[in-house]
Point group: C2
Chain length 625, copies 2
């Protein structure tokens, strides 16, 4: 599981589940450090403290007249993606980056050895969060092509997305020795953490500390760039009625160090579901209507490589036939509540499943009723409901939603946020992510694992067995309205000054809404009407293919794999609206009228309108033109 | 109908067929001349004769030490596309281009008024072949977006594909006055034509001729760049069983001048088919299994604009559901034989139809048996069969095959090549393309029109009514083997010297062949087995979607709309093989080992292998992974 940022390269992996033939894509393995190839000399420079390494953080240091050129920047996790810290630093001439985990961000302030694991769930001082610093996903050497042994590979010198300067994660024990010995002015209040000293900015160490004043820090990284094999392991249950419709279910198998939580808590769920369904199959008591594909992906931690290469290899076949993708990576972050992310059409099937299953909590609530206590929102259509998060690119669902346009979801149990503000469970990606840690602190008794398995299993069965697909296309209308409203409120005035009207977008959203509602009515009518198999298939195909209509491979050519016009990354705008429009407006806002940047805003608007009109056309009665 | 080359912009069009709502895309209208905007002064220069205006022709002039800079080039039709003549000329500094039709190329040498229409089918001396000189297709201002009133439009200054210098077609009457008065050396033998004089190269006029020696020629073009409306007119017959599967049938409605042959001979067929099927529908005696969509496209002559904008507007819906596209543009070029172009899977349905229908010839042959007399080839699978031509981009099938990946075909009746070597029927795109011309010279009695209508109608009914689609995916194997063989023979040595193996391509072709043959066996078995509706649908979808698997929007980003890895244009190579590989090899052949050009060869090879492996995956049993 890769939160927030994107990542790099392949770890070795041996087949694990052995239902079907293991597939060995050859992938490029690079290090969690940004060094594309080992420099002949590692950077040596005065240390500065750069907070989270965001663009604003480096600007703050500049504003304090701190010379960044040739320095080593000590940064802490959070605020931006891993790779972005090095990218931002390099722009300011920084020569190397250290990244540590501050106890303020991960341990609710606890930093002493007797306050941390094994005495609590807190990260011990020596714990180091690894992770990929690669900017894209997929094998860096085979963009858009499967990483077969014979496939064309880029010269590593031409591969993009690797951080530009050496970067090394360290534990807060080491960070403390460095940071608490820095000289210079005090860092801003918001930059202070829980290492038990006043954080200074540097550059260089203070006099009278553990290090000689004026001495420099040397960053050396001992990762290697290697071509390694990794395997996806797939298992399929043939559908009885519609074998050419697939429900995909996946998790990765590779981990940093032990990986009891990430990914093995999810793999336990995958194995349990496949065991239960396999038992039913063998008994002959059940076979799903549609085919079910279980996938144990390789090399996720190096950049979703296994799943991305699979998506590239079977692009057309998967696009033609896949009903939905279910991802359960870390199944239990904590044991308070369900947490679900997905595209709008999957909300209904998750809600249905969650209502049917009892929460592990002793309070006798359903998973749904427990969930709504922790995460909820007010829907204009349904009233208060649990809130479904959006999919970014933190796990293997990314190629399925962004590149293939398949409705996707990610399910897990998670925190009670009133009890911790930890950025993520503290031992994430460290050597302390162990079975004992899970057993003692995250899910004693493993009842949250069971809750996730039951929920994901119910979703899987509903998707594979229902006569009509349990996807609600109308739930996209709410998202579109909210995106539209944000665009009108936050971009409307700017667009108006450049004579760009949002009217065609308003009309397109209305057309979508109308077509989706009408499709739902036709489905309701058909359900009462004993429809013939081809009528059912026709309506199901309209639901299945909706997500595909939002793909446009020419919309964001610079964003590798991202083709979904509603869920591509928003780079520079915090407005929850259509990403292409938001990004283009952000680029254009200070540019002159009539410039190429404003033409791009108009192009993005037309791409969006065309996609929504095309989506509405797919939902309308099939013989309407 | 636009032979060979690609084209430009939209003519005004009023709805013609009025079955359904007319759709008025706003499209950009430009001239058949290359002038993007009127120059303030039209070019004036010494005249040179440049044969067909190919790159080789201009090089020949250079080799004869003729200064081309600032000249006006007189060229004749043929050898290369219209626009290419101006592009090639401009590279050599030519200021303006005239294009004429030589009686050697169009009239089998006849050039006197009493030898030409109305005395024969020959083009009269005053006849001018119009045509688009635009390099791409679709509305030049809205690439990849439908030309809706609100759509983003390029600034005309940013639109590409227009010829760079003014160009004007003229008749051979005018050409003769110019060419027969030229001075300079005699043109090469192959450059001589049938204007009744020795063709000289120029530059400039000879002394003692009709023009003062040293006088210059002024090319002025009076076309206008205008935004005009054009309409597609659509009619649909709802399918009874699978309304969400479409068989598309289309022709354009716009013409240069009268257009009795191009396009009205095809429109007559379209109207007759719709009349007959409409009558059966109204009687209640018939309704097709699948939906049939009739389309009368606007603005074809300006660059397939109506059909391309339609494909852009309904991209997803058409890709999801369209079984095949049938194009009948000019239905009768001449009355000797059927001529069919298409992708391999449509061969079988055309053959079946052609065997069933009697040819108009008095010899009592079927259309098939007559056809095989004129155009045949030896198939390794079937023995001697009529030869099916390849689709280029000469009519409205182009967006369907190249951009949407829909199996397509073009049907017509055509010449007895033993009787004429005319480049095309002589009055093509001139003011003499009239009903009287058709009636008297091309199809007296209109029996060839009837033959095309019966053949196309039979193909249409077989595609829309058959339980199993009458497409034979295995027929692609023969094409792939022939492409592969050409690659091995003509590119193998070159590739080997750069350590590039064709082995992965060989394996991929074999996998395709095996999967296609196995699918055919499963279909045969199912036909005997009273299959359930969803089994039939599954097998049909595999056949329908095969053509889609050959699309890759990232394969040739510089080729607007062309995404089909087997049928994209081959630019610089005459080898009938995979176009991406051929083009890349042609670019790389003189480049050093390890250069970007050789990396592109490898990338193209991987794109091809991935597409073929993906195609095989789509054809295999659906629950195989």
């Amino acid at each position: 599981m890769r939160p927030w940022c994107r990542s790099c390269c392949s770890a070795g992996g041996t087949p694990h589940l052995a239902w079907t033939r293991p597939r060995p894509p050859s992938t490029r393995c690079c290090s969690p450090s940004p060094a594309r190839s080992s420099p002949t000399t590692w950077p040596l420079g005065l240390l500065v403290y750069a907070n989270q390494g965001t663009e604003e953080d480096f600007k703050e240091l500049q504003s304090q007249n701190i010379t960044l050129n040739g320095t080593i920047a000590l940064t802490r996790y959070g605020g931006t993606g891993r790779g972005a810290k090095a990218v931002n630093a390099a722009k300011h001439g920084v020569a190397g980056v250290l990244v540590y985990t501050d106890p303020a961000d991960i341990n609710d302030g606890q930093s002493l050895p007797n306050q941390t694991f094994p005495h609590s769930w807190g990260l011990p001082p020596s714990g180091v969060e690894r992770g990929s610093y690669y900017e894209y996903f997929g094998d860096p050497l085979t963009p858009y092509l499967p990483a077969h042994p014979s496939s064309f590979r880029l010269d590593p010198a031409d591969a993009s997305g690797f951080p530009p300067i050496p970067t090394q994660p360290i534990g807060f024990e080491d960070a403390q020795r460095l940071l608490c010995n820095l000289g210079g002015a005090s860092a801003p209040t918001a930059w202070q953490g829980a290492l038990g000293c006043d954080y200074k900015l540097g550059p260089g160490f203070r006099s009278g500390g553990n290090f000689t004043e004026g001495s420099q820090v040397n960053v050396s990284v001992h990762n290697r760039l290697e071509l390694r094999n990794s395997s996806n392991v797939l298992g399929i249950i043939h559908g009885a009625v519609e074998p050419d419709r697939y429900v995909l279910y996946g998790n990765h198998r590779d981990s940093w160090v032990h990986g009891a939580v990430d990914p093995s808590s999810g793999t336990a769920v995958l194995l349990e579901l496949s065991r239960v369904l396999g038992t039913m199959l063998k008994k002959g008591t059940w076979r799903p209507r549609r085919s079910i594909v279980f996938a144990s992906w390789g090399a996720e931690e190096f950049g979703l490589i296994g799943s991305t290469e699979f998506a590239e290899e079977f692009f057309n076949k998967l696009q033609e036939r896949t009903v939905a993708y279910i991802n359960v990576d870390i199944s239990v972050f904590a044991n308070a509540s369900l947490r679900a992310q997905g595209t709008p059409p999957v909300q209904s099937v998750i809600f249905s499943a969650a209502k049917q299953i009892q929460a592990p909590d002793p309070s006798d609530l359903s998973i749904y009723d427990n969930w709504i206590r922790y995460f909820n929102r007010s829907s204009p259509v349904y009233g208060v409901v649990p809130s479904l998060g959006s999919l970014v690119a933190g796990s293997d669902y990314a190629p399925f939603i962004h590149y293939l346009g398949i409705s996707s979801m990610d399910l897990a149990y998670t925190y009670d946020r009133s009890k911790t503000s930890a950025r993520i469970y503290p031992t994430y990606h460290t050597a302390f992510d162990t079975f004992g840690y899970m057993d003692k602190f995250l899910d004693p008794g493993f009842s949250s694992h069971q809750a996730v398995a039951r929920t994901a299993g119910s979703v899987l069965l509903r998707l594979s067995d229902s006569l009509f697909l349990p996807l609600n296309v109308s739930d996209y209308s709410e998202t579109l309205h909210s995106f539209l409203q944000a665009a009108q409120q936050d971009l409307g005035d700017l667009l108006q000054t450049h004579n760009i009207s949002l009217e065609p977008l308003v009309t397109a959203v209305e057309k979508f809404e109308e077509a989706a509602a009408a499709l739902n009515q036709r489905i309701s009518a058909a359900q009462k009407d004993n429809p013939d198999p081809l009528q059912v298939r026709m309506l199901n195909d309209q639901m299945m293919l909706l997500e595909r209509t939002f793909l446009n491979p020419r919309a964001f050519p610079e964003e590798r794999y991202y083709s979904h016009v509603l869920w591509a990354p928003r780079h520079t705008s915090s407005i929850a609206t259509f990403p292409g429009l938001a990004n283009a407006c952000s680029q254009a806002k200070d540019m002159p009228h009539g410039s190429a940047a404003w033409a791009e805003v108009q192009r993005q608007l037309s791409i969006l309108v065309t996609a929504l009109e095309g989506a509405a056309a797919t939902l309308r009665p099939v013989a309407d033109l």
